[in-house]
Amino acid sequence: MASALINVPARAGRGEIIEVKTLISHPMETGFRRSQLGALIPRDIIRLFVCTYNGTEVFRAELHPAIAANPFIVFSTVATESGTIAFRWTGDNGFSVAESAAITVG
């Protein structure tokens, strides 16, 4: 089972720009490598990462095989209100992982 690590500040001032760091364990198999028998290893990557802030999408990343294994994504968002920041990774072979973090704004 994939495990995700998220770094979001627990509290922030209203209107403050916060930095969000996410890391998820995934091999990101490119589909260009061959096994020792010469057979092509099928592609298995995360295709999409979406971040929603209290239900509103604030960030999205479309990933390709050139993203390193265990995708690490850093972005920023404005702390508008208290609530939850939710993250979802979806990819090949039905890969789907959701994670969320609570933030207090005041």
Binding site: P65, I67, F72, V74, S76
Partner: protein, 157 residues
């Protein structure tokens, strides 16, 4: 006198035949490589008929990379990130990876700051290009040259 194939002739013929087969198989397993022209084509696909101007985009990549399997990449765009003037998307492309596309980030005024970072794979010494799309529909680009000593995508699992 009847001409017979000498041992030397036979070995020569057999050797060149084997070399031919070897060459053919090398050509066959050579990994797919994109070219700078394919990168331009991929950029064109994203940008459409719009013109891409150089500037505003800053790519942060180490100039010398020892391991192409994980290369830290940071992209930032000079933009106030307000509703009237913000970055809509940042796309990253490479010249010589098997596929020119690397990643597409979609942002909005809620991002607060047009700055993103991730880790990428690089198959060769090459130029990495980032193209950003602003809310007014204009496109800006920035690039960085990277020297890679150990390439990604080539090692056996």
């Amino acid at each position: 006198m009847k001409r017979r194939t000498s041992r030397r002739q036979f070995l020569l013929a057999a050797g060149s035949a084997a070399a031919g087969i070897g060459l053919a198989s090398v050509v066959q397993v050579k990994p797919a490589r994109a070219t700078p022209a394919e990168m331009q084509e991929a950029i064109r696909k994203v940008v459409g008929p719009a013109r891409v101007t150089t500037g505003k985009v800053k790519l942060d990549l180490p100039p010398l990379v020892e391991n192409g399997n994980t290369v830290p990449l940071a992209v930032s765009v000079a933009s106030p990130m307000i509703a009237a003037d913000h970055v809509r998307a940042i796309h990253v492309f490479t010249e010589k990876n098997p596929l020119p596309e690397v990643v597409s980030f979609r942002l909005g005024p809620r991002a607060g700051r047009a700055s993103v970072a991730t880790r990428i794979r690089l198959a060769d010494t090459q130029t990495v290009v980032a193209v950003c799309e602003l809310s007014d529909g204009s496109f800006w680009s920035g690039s960085a040259d990277v020297v890679v000593t150990l390439a990604a995508c080539l090692e056996e699992p």
